[in-house]
Symmetry: C2
Subunit: 229 residues, 2 copies
């Protein structure tokens, strides 16, 4: 197939857990574009050499190569304008939601779930993941997530702008999902795939939205191996 | 004039300080619509009886009456579609930014500046403002803002999604401002008009954006009486 998305995977190639790769996979599904979803592991930098860098997601679309989830979404919108629009208005007008997902949501989540990730990785990837992330945090991964249940109320409070929006409408995009939904959902899907931690209370409007996101595209995100939360 | 926006004012009718009224004033300016900007005070509920409720902003546009800043913006977009668009895409797609301004930005700001407000009010309004807000917070206004300088780092950290977006582009809307910019700016303008507290460091990209917002429409927001920060 001429279209390939390279995605972070665990030892089980079906366990795709990168929040940024999920943004791209949902964006492709939104555009109703088929692709071959290639598993990629942390230790396989050389296999991305064709992209001129070493991080996923990478999209190879025929002769074209695009990396970075934001660039991939903007590329899809530009090259496939006749398919459902990913961005209401312009990509720029969705940047704030994406920035919130990056700097608030994912910043909270990594401190809640990072120690659950190594169990899904092969030996060499585990070593890479531990040493790079422990250097970033300045402590062991288990220390980063220690006492995480006590931090759930602060995490849930930080979701208030999301909750307030989803009390008004089914998706961040409005009646239908848009790229902002995928940007935010990527974080929740990352957590769901690697961690048993119950992040949301059942009656939270955010939990209802997450279910709707899991239902999209024939249950695309629900079908991936996960810890089920 | 057939178009009137009722806005919260201090004893000095030129001191307009409501973050929500500023959203509406900037939205009218964005649409290049002239209006008579009527001062309204907390003790004048009966003068808004024509709107069927007692809060500003209220827009009277010929025969039509609209209240609530969000409803006013959507009304302007619907009734004046040939003028510059306020919402990239749809109003729904901007709800997350507005919700962030309401639940994060303004929630931080009120705890930093609320005790600066009574000085700008007449005696009757002061009594109303104190009793209603002190009931909400369960303490005196001066206790709410006590030690506020020590909370500035947390406030500035909470602006990170704003800052990350504004490192990429001049406005939240992209190359030009949109309703999301006005929703967020309303909070900063509220603070600027009532409080001498220096909220931002000079080299913060958010401070640069605030200056651009103050410059819009011939310096509309800069021209109002303020504490200058």
């Amino acid at each position: 197939m001429a279209r390939v998305l390279y995605e972070l995977a665990g030892t089980d190639p079906a366990r795709r857990f990168s929040p940024y790769c999920w943004r791209s996979r949902m964006a492709l599904a939104h555009k109703d574009l088929e692709a071959d979803y290639q598993p990629w592991r942390f230790t396989e930098a050389e296999s991305l050499a064709f992209s001129g860098q070493a991080k996923v997601p990478v999209l190879r679309d025929g002769e074209r190569v695009v990396f970075d989830s934001g660039a991939i979404a903007e590329y899809l919108e530009r090259i496939y304008p006749d398919r459902p629009a990913l961005f209401p208005g312009t990509p720029e007008a969705s940047r704030f939601i994406v920035a919130w997902a990056d700097t608030v949501l994912n910043a909270h989540l990594v401190r809640l779930i990072v120690s659950d990730i190594p169990q899904w990785l092969g030996e060499g990837e585990q070593a890479y993941f531990r040493s790079s992330r422990e250097a970033r945090f300045g402590k062991r991964l288990e220390e980063v997530t220690e006492g995480r249940e006590t931090r759930l109320p602060a995490f849930r409070a930080a979701l208030e702008p999301l909750r307030a929006t989803l009390r008004e409408q089914p998706f961040l995009g409005g009646e239908a999902p848009a790229y902002g939904d995928y940007a935010v959902f990527g974080g929740f899907q990352w957590a769901r795939v690697v961690s048993p931690l119950v992040l949301l209370e059942a009656d939270d409007p955010v939990a209802g939205w997450r279910e709707r996101m899991l239902d999209l595209f024939g249950g695309l995100a629900r079908a991936t191996p996960s810890c089920g939360t």
